[in-house]
């Protein structure tokens, strides 16, 4: 009796396993997406897939660039609306399953186009070969084979990649030996000046104001900045100001102007004293 029971149990387990295998297989095949919930602002492969699939169904008409921006957001919401899902603009498990079921994703094709820098689309029902256009006539053979990740990037409102680059140059030239907080602080001072009534109203205006920054005067601004400097600039733009709204800073060891000492001092970060 007992033996029988055991045999039955084994049989049950085996049959369950057999049943489960194709299920696991199919699940695996269908969910090319990783497990993450994709939300506005995300970047990466999942976003590329999301955009491609939404485009396949005709919801998304923008560029497949791997950045979850507003275009992707509205496309996703429309998809959720049409398919009777809760409209939250988040690509959760349920949404992704529906999307995978309803659309096809030719990963190889999309990746290839992105790597080659081609202009392309991924609409369903149209031959993919007709949807790509090499950029700039004769497509030069690409030597590098490192996978190029997204071809676009998030930028804070009101700033361009070039503004950030310029600021990163200034920060690197002025404060490359400083602790990270000190670099954010220098970037914050530039932004405080832009917002201040007593300085020019543009990033370039502030940076290139004659005699404002020593790094500009002696050409150190044209050194190539590292990632840290750029990160510091992004932090400052995104709202971090470690200086307490300072408009000036100076290095007390090298400052040549007596006037700078008359400014009310707020605090010291690294080698720099920050003042109003």
């Amino acid at each position: 009796m007992k033996k029988n029971f055991l045999a039955a149990k084994v049989l049950l387990i085996i049959s369950l396993c057999v049943l489960a295998i194709p299920m696991i297989g199919s699940v695996d095949k269908a969910s090319a997406f990783s497990n993450q919930v994709i939300q506005h602002g995300a970047v990466g492969d999942d976003v590329i897939e999301l955009q491609s699939r939404l485009q396949y169904l005709g919801f998304y008409n923008g560029k497949i660039d791997g950045v979850f921006g507003w275009g992707t957001y509205w496309a996703l919401r429309n998809f959720q609306y049409e398919f009777g899902l809760p409209i939250d603009g988040l690509a959760g498990q349920e949404t992704k399953n529906k999307l995978v079921k309803a659309s096809q994703y030719n990963k190889q094709y999309v990746k290839e186009q992105i790597n080659k820098g081609n202009k392309f689309t991924h609409y369903g029902g149209v031959n993919l070969e007709q949807q790509k256009k090499p950029q700039g006539g004769t497509a030069a053979p690409q030597q590098q084979e490192k996978p190029k990740q997204p071809t676009a990037t998030n930028m804070p409102n009101g700033f361009s990649e070039n503004d950030i680059q310029l600021m990163a140059n200034a920060v690197y030239g002025e404060a490359r030996g400083e602790p990270y907080t000190g670099q954010v602080a220098v970037a914050a001072v530039i932004l405080n000046r832009v917002n201040s009534a007593t300085f020019p109203n543009t990033v370039s205006g502030v940076i290139f104001e004659p005699r404002a920054f020593t790094a500009v005067a002696d050409g150190q601004i044209w050194l190539t900045p590292n990632e840290k400097a750029k990160e510091a600039v992004l932090d400052a733009i995104n709202g971090w100001d470690p200086t307490g709204s300072a408009l000036y800073y100076f290095n007390p060891d090298t400052a040549t102007s007596g006037w700078i000492w008359t400014r009310p001092q707020i605090k010291r970060i690294g080698k720099h004293i920050f003042c109003k």
Binding site: Q36, V37, I38, Q39, G41, A42, G44, N61, G62, D65, V67, G69, W70, G71, W74, L90, Q135, P150, T153, N154, M155, P156, G158, S160, E161, P179, Y180, T181, S196, A197, T198, F199, N201, E209, P210, R211, A212, E231, L234, D235, N238, G239, W240, D241, P242, G244, S245, T256, S257, G258, W259, R263, P264, Q265, I266, K267, R268, I273, C275, K276
Partner: protein, 449 residues
């Protein structure tokens, strides 16, 4: 023979060097002149704009019909901004020339405010006329002073490059006519003190800096150290350094830096003396490979804020920058979004932990507000929007408008073509307060060729 060759070679060498030196000299002069010309242009532009500014303010005073004032005031506004940009191009950064720039900016604010107002319905008040008159006489003084400097510059053939040199070598005693001239201008403006721009005038620079909405007692340095240690979460084996704010700060704070003795990871933060609130926090750490999604990170950020007693917040924006997620939260009072109350949290996407946050805006502006019931309905507000825009979302919100005032609005998110816009319609007056085109992802320009 050998000697002859040597002489020839040396002679050629000397001649070559002389020629090269001469070329260099000429090039240097060309560049100097070029720089000088830029300064001269900015300077003469400046005096010209001040001339015009004075005239224009005069015209506005003389105008009889109040409704025709608007374009004139707009012109004044434009001139101040141009004059301002000219000042920015002169090598005066280390000269105390702030007062003059502030003066320009104040005229600009005043004229902008009055120019965008519907002067038919709300004409200039008597007080504003008085302000205009005062500005007129003050601008005359500045104009006079600047003209004097200009006259001297032209007569004595003064060069801005000399100002540069004088400032660079910091020869305070050096008699530099231009520097002296500008110091005189500055003194003149200083003499005006605070011009009375009327009761409704909000000076854009005078934001509340004093954290007046914060409650609580002053904390001690030890308490500040304890708070920072908790936020930094770098363990117990740490060096802690607490510094008090300098005299020039508008508010009292402690700067605390916490460093783990082993890993050398360092966290810095400022804490208000009043109540011990965290103003900002930055952890300096190399972030490794991304392991968690932006969505998980945003949940972590929400949890972090909850644990630290920040409540009633909406996630407003999220964005991934490489291996970091940055989230902006704004407070929500009975379903109305309060945009001035913003908190930003940065989460590292390798371990999902908070890497930085900034609560300065929130601490400065957060309080229980009296939000009036809207005077117009949502449909009425929607009718004010450009019909080309397809509205996708709407809600109520409090924003800070161009005049630096908090206004209650209807917020609409809409699309036109590929672009998404955020549009704010004043819930009291139906005025279009702000239209923002939201940023699309920006293509990376590296390796495009």
């Amino acid at each position: 023979m050998l000697r002859g060759i040597l002489i020839v070679v040396l002679a050629l060498g000397v001649a070559g060097t002389a020629f090269w030196g001469y070329q260099e000299h000429r090039e240097k002069n060309a560049i100097l002149i070029n720089a000088e010309n830029n300064y001269q242009r900015a300077f003469h532009d400046l005096t010209y704009q001040m001339d015009l500014l004075h005239d224009r303010i005069g015209t506005t005073l003389a105008m009889n019909s109040r409704s025709s004032l608007s374009p004139e005031l707009a012109e004044v506004w434009r001139l101040t901004s141009e004059a301002h940009s000219d000042v920015g191009q002169l090598p005066l950064a280390l000269l105390p020339f702030n007062k003059t720039e502030e003066f320009l900016s104040n005229i600009g604010d005043f004229s902008y405010r009055t120019a965008v107002r519907d002067l038919e319905k709300e004409p200039l008040t008597e007080k504003e006329y008085q302000t205009l008159k005062k500005l007129y006489t003050q601008s005359a003084d500045i104009q006079q002073d600047l003209r004097k400097v200009q006259h001297m510059v032209l007569e004595k053939n003064l060069r801005w490059m000399d100002v540069e040199m004088a400032l660079a070598s910091n020869q305070e005693a050096a008699d530099n006519t231009i520097i002296d001239g500008f110091k005189t201008v500055e003194k003149t403006v200083e003499g005006y003190g605070e011009t009375d721009f009327g009761p409704a005038f909000v000076n854009m620079q005078k934001k509340d800096e004093n954290f007046k909405y914060l409650k609580g007692d002053e904390i001690s340095e030890d308490e500040a150290a304890r708070i920072a240690k908790k936020y930094a979460a770098l363990g117990n084996n740490v060096n802690i350094k607490v510094t008090e704010n300098g005299k020039g700060s508008d508010y009292g704070f402690f700067s605390v830096s916490v460093q783990n003795k082993k890993t050398k990871e360092e966290a810095d933060m400022d804490i208000t003396k009043k109540g011990g609130y965290p103003i900002w926090f930055i952890l300096d750490r190399e972030v490794a490979q991304q392991k968690i999604s932006l969505n998980e990170a945003s949940n972590n950020a929400i949890r972090f804020l909850k644990e630290n007693g920040f409540q009633g917040l909406d996630l407003f924006e999220s964005a991934q920058y490489d291996k970091l997620g940055v989230f902006t939260f704004v407070s929500n009072q009975n379903g109305v979004r309060i945009y001035p109350d913003a908190i930003r949290v940065k989460v590292a996407l390798d371990n999902g932990k908070m890497a930085a946050f900034s609560a300065e805006d929130y601490l400065k502006s957060h309080h229980q507000r009296d939000i009036p019931e809207p005077a117009i309905s949502k449909e009425e507000a929607r009718a004010k929007i450009n019909p080309q825009v397809k509205v996708m979302e709407d809600r109520r919100a409090v924003i800070i408008n161009d005049l630096n005032q908090e206004v209650s609005c209807y917020e609409f998110l809409g699309t036109m073509g590929e672009d998404t816009y955020r549009i704010y319609i004043n819930a009291e007056t139906g005025q279009e307060e702000k239209v923002e085109k939201l940023k699309n992802a920006e293509p990376i320009y590296e390796d495009v060729v």
